[in-house]
């Protein structure tokens, strides 16, 4: 039967007598289940566990009790509320909101996001100066925290909760309910077959009562809930399907809640640690820190980590991958609050769990150990400065600021080449050809003037604002003084007799992310529940099976039939199996029983029964 009728179907209607009629199905197929009582019919036509516009659902009356789409003039506020609530929790709304969620998620993938790619956002602003303010206004650079995105998923989850609650209630009732009465006529149902066993003398066990008893025992063993009605047994199984569905949907709410709670209670922080340095888990020690809404300082458990050694391994043999990183290992000494200290390693994909947080290794690079000496021999600057890697061969860039102690304020922009090579284009510009320290060279452009540190505007340690400064060594220096070039151990004079700068050596740094999320395991737990619920909901069949026995002139007549509740492609086969096993119990030789129960001897020849036999709702009087 073509489903196209569904599209225009006005839906099930409740007539004044309170019985359901399947108005959507058009003229009923001839010879339909005339034998079904009104009760049976309600039972097969609709599934109260489903929202009203579910294909198997029981249609809800429109507000005021009229037909769908008919607006009743007198409708109290409660009625309206109910009506809107029903709209919100309908399948159509859920579907609409799901589609909306998919669409709303797209913009965030097209432009960089502040949370995951702040530099990208800055770059976007430079590249699209006109577009940027407009996009920024509607929040696409923070798509996943934007009001519109939040509105979509919050509505979806309200709808979801509104959907789960009544269904859970229904389901608890269904779990306690007995299987429904056997329909008077089974012959229109799925997998129907009728077998007559001839003969059957008294006491041979071939009487309806023992046949029904045997069927009941067999179905029970197969996990069906059974109920005997006269000479028939009615059996139902697969409540786990609905349980799974409810677990799935509820666990989704659990995931959302725990993600939110975890984000609110937790924190993330970044810190660059140079070999030999110690990082103490306190607010001041972080380079950047993002606390959750409900975070308090006391959550930071005071441990410390010393980066003893940072080891890298690069590909040396494979010609196609020379210099590709193979391994990063950070050897650290961890000291907890109570003074225990231990040697630990942190690697990519293998964070260190300490003090309720996880410490991840997310980046690394080189740090320059530099000393600036004034003409009078004092050392206004001596420090190790991390340089940020600029490319795969770890050409790195960093900034040195010397505000005091020299005749002038000095800023230096440094370029570090771990394996320096001349680019050989005559420009004298260098490049790095390999990420490891084969031929380390540091080149420094020196600026003199106002560093701008006194303006009170916070400045990044990784950038130098050269606006108020003059370049005194480097490509743009007026007198042609070249950039200072240093190898480890070397000292160079600063121009103009300002002093000297010494390149003491190179160290490695590790960039560590510290992440604390007290709800993380809960999120995982709910995600696991989601998955388990999904498997159960999708692959446990929910079905009813009936076995009916009667005595005819020819002997004992046995009838078998089933009814799918929801998708159930194997129903016909299952009814066949029930029949075959039951017939065997009744003394029919196994091979004959199997033959009788074969799928193609059942009501429909393909394995998915379509049409009236498949869906109860297609049966009407």
């Amino acid at each position: 039967m073509a489903r196209s009728s569904d599209r225009t179907a006005p839906g099930l209607r409740r007539d004044p007598a309170g019985q359901h009629r399947t108005a959507e199905q058009g003229p009923p197929p001839q010879g339909t289940a005339a034998g079904l009582t009104a009760d049976d019919e309600t039972d097969v036509t609709g599934d109260p566990l489903r929202p009203s516009d579910h294909v198997d659902g029981v249609a809800a009356p429109a507000p005021g009790g009229g037909g769908d789409g008919v607006t009743q003039p007198r409708l109290g506020p409660i009625g309206y509320l109910r009506f809107f609530w029903r709209q919100l929790t309908s399948m159509k709304t859920a579907l609409f909101l799901l589609m909306l969620l998919a669409v709303a998620a797209i913009p965030g993938s097209l432009v960089p996001q502040r949370t995951s790619d702040p530099n990208g956002v800055v770059q976007y602003r430079t590249e699209h100066p006109d577009l940027f303010p407009v996009l920024d206004k509607i929040g696409v650079f923070d798509t996943y925290a934007s009001p519109w995105f939040s509105a979509v998923y919050l509505l979806l989850f309200i709808s979801l909760i509104g959907c789960i609650v009544p269904r859970t209630k229904h389901h608890f009732e269904a779990l306690r309910a007995r299987p429904p009465k056997t329909p008077a006529r089974l012959s229109r149902l799925a997998g129907y077959r009728s077998v007559t066993i001839a003969g059957g003398a008294e006491g041979s066990g071939l009487d309806p009562a023992s046949a029904v008893a045997a069927a009941r025992a067999q179905l029970r063993r197969a996990g069906y809930r059974t109920e005997v009605f006269g000479d028939s047994v009615s059996a139902e199984r697969g409540y786990a399907r609905e349980t799974g569905n409810l677990v799935f949907h509820s666990a989704l709410v659990g995931v959302l809640l725990t993600v939110g709670i975890g984000g609110g209670l937790g924190y993330t922080g970044q810190r660059v640690v140079v070999e030999g340095q110690t990082f103490t888990n306190a607010l001041v020690a972080y380079d950047s820190f993002n606390p959750g809404r409900w975070f308090s300082d006391s959550q930071l458990s005071p441990y410390s980590l010393t980066l003893d050694r940072f080891t890298t391994k690069y590909e040396e043999k494979n010609r196609d991958a020379i210099g590709q990183p193979l391994d990063y290992t950070a050897d650290v000494t961890a000291r907890t609050q109570d003074g225990d200290s231990s040697q630990q390693t942190i690697k990519v994909n293998s964070p260190l769990a300490i003090g309720g947080s996880n410490v991840y290794l997310l980046g690394n690079g080189y740090a320059m150990d530099l000393t600036v000496t004034a003409p009078d021999g004092t050392e206004p600057f001596t420090d190790t400065i991390p340089f940020l890697p600029q490319n795969a061969d770890l050409m790195s860039q960093g900034v040195v600021k010397v505000p005091d102690g020299l005749a002038e304020q000095i800023g230096m922009i440094g370029f570090f080449y771990p394996s320096a090579v001349d680019t050989e284009d005559g420009s004298g510009i260098m490049a790095s050809s390999y990420p490891d320290l084969l031929n380390p060279v540091l080149s420094l452009n020196v600026y003199e003037g106002d560093l701008g540190l006194d303006d009170g505007v916070p400045q990044s340690v990784y950038s130098l604002t050269t606006d108020g400064m003059t370049e005194i060594a480097g490509a743009a220096a007026d007198d042609g003084t070249k950039a200072l070039k240093l190898t480890p151990g070397e000292t160079a004079d600063l121009p103009g007799g300002l002093g000297t700068v010494t390149f003491n050596g190179v160290k490695r740094f590790a960039s560590l992310d510290v992440h604390h999320d007290p709800a993380q395991l809960w999120v995982l737990g709910f995600a696991g529940l989601t998955f388990a619920g999904l498997l159960t909901a999708l692959f446990v069949p929910r079905r009813r099976v009936w076995v009916k026995a009667s005595t005819t002139d020819d002997g004992l007549r046995l009838e078998y039939a089933g009814l799918a509740r929801g998708e159930d492609p194997t129903l016909v086969r299952a009814v066949g199996d029930v029949a075959s096993r039951h017939l065997t119990t009744m003394g029919v030789p196994a091979d004959v029983a199997r033959d009788l129960a074969r799928e193609d001897s059942a009501s429909t020849s393909n394995d998915t029964p379509t049409g009236p036999a498949r869906r109860g709702r297609k049966i009407s009087s």
Partner: protein, 345 residues
């Protein structure tokens, strides 16, 4: 054999597999053409008094004496009369014997897959790890899995009418992967050195295979629906395919398997992201698209369950879902920035 040799033989094998797949594709196409002819013949035969397949419909009133065992007669009285009219299978869809073209096509497909698998294995041996760590390898393994999923599904239900679609899609993906995305064997970067590479990515690929088959079935269903509305009367071969409802059911079941696998991919990806990047979810581009795909298929499942959406409308969602999967793999990998920068290009 050195790694370079192995990688070379892997390429030889993949080109050979493509050649074999091409034969298979042509044969499947010829099979579709032949189906047109068959359908015409069947239509003629159906006008004759003894209609094809009519005997099957009459079972309702028949009494079949099945056995007489141990002095006791067992009779299958009757089965339901449900099968009839519009529910009957189309003229020659069930019980249709595979044409010679189809048999050639399927054998070639199996042969192609064997050679293809050799290519995948060689690539894995050359790299000394699982062969799905960059886009070329992902295409290579993914296409093999699509064919594998198709052949497995075929064991359970006759979906050979999808052969031309599967081989066609496969050839396109494989050609793009090999010609545009080829990279030499390189070792894994530290972020990819994890057992999750094996699990997460493999499950994603298998899920993709199921989505591909589901999309093909959905497309066939759409065509069939159009034909039912008499808008596409001339696509005769469609007569030999199952009716629209059946195609829809099949598409749905195949997509469900894909959806379950995709759900797992999503969860496993989050677990891995927590290990490797320090957070389980960060709205990285690839994460966003994996999520979008998941939501689209959740939408599809709901559409199927919503009155008024079952049928053609929900099928479009299945097709859009698969389009998003392809988009995620191609465009997002190559052109979008993100942490998942593993294309190796």
């Amino acid at each position: 054999m050195t790694a370079t040799d192995l990688a070379y033989y892997s390429l030889v094998a993949v080109y050979s597999a493509m050649a074999i797949y091409t034969i298979s594709f042509v044969a499947y196409a010829l099979d579709l053409a032949k189906r047109s002819g068959d359908a015409q013949l069947a239509a003629k035969a159906a006008t004759a008094p003894a209609a094809v397949g009519a005997e099957a419909q009459g079972a309702g009133a028949e009494r079949v004496v099945t056995a007489s065992a141990g002095g006791r007669t067992v009779v299958l009285d009757r089965t339901a009369t449900a099968a009839g009219g519009a529910d009957a299978p189309r003229a020659s869809s069930s019980g249709r014997r595979p044409s010679r073209f189809e048999r050639v096509a399927t054998s070639m497909l199996v042969l192609g897959l064997v050679v293809h698998v050799v290519s995948v294995v060689f690539r894995g041996l050359a790299a000394g790890r699982v062969p799905w760590a960059n886009m070329f390898e992902f295409s290579l393994t993914g296409t093999a899995i699509i064919v594998g999923v198709f052949l497995v599904v075929r064991v359970f239900v006759d979906v050979s009418y999808l052969g031309a679609y599967v081989t066609g899609l496969n050839l396109i993906l494989l050609a793009i992967g090999t010609v545009n995305y080829y990279v030499a064997v390189v070792p894994l970067q530290p972020a990819l050195q994890s057992a999750w590479l094996v699990i997460h990515v493999l499950v994603a690929i298998i899920g993709t295979g199921f989505f591909a088959i589901a999309a093909g079935l959905s497309a066939a269903q759409l065509v069939q629906t159009k034909r039912d509305q008499a808008k596409l009367a001339n696509l005769r071969f469609m007569d030999t395919l199952p009716e629209a409802d059946r195609l829809e059911d099949l598409a749905y079941r195949v997509a469900l398997v894909g959806f379950v696998l995709w759900t797992f991919t999503l969860i496993a990806g989050a677990v891995w992201a927590e290990r490797a990047w320090g957070r389980y979810w960060g709205w990285d581009t690839k994460e966003v698209w994996t999520f979008i795909i998941w939501v689209l298929y959740a939408g599809y499942i709901h559409a199927r369950a919503t009155r008024g959406w079952r049928g053609a409308r929900s099928s479009w969602l299945s097709i859009i879902g698969f389009a998003a999967v392809m988009f995620n793999f191609s465009v997002v990998n190559v052109f979008f920035k993100g942490l998942h920068a593993y294309s190796g290009l």
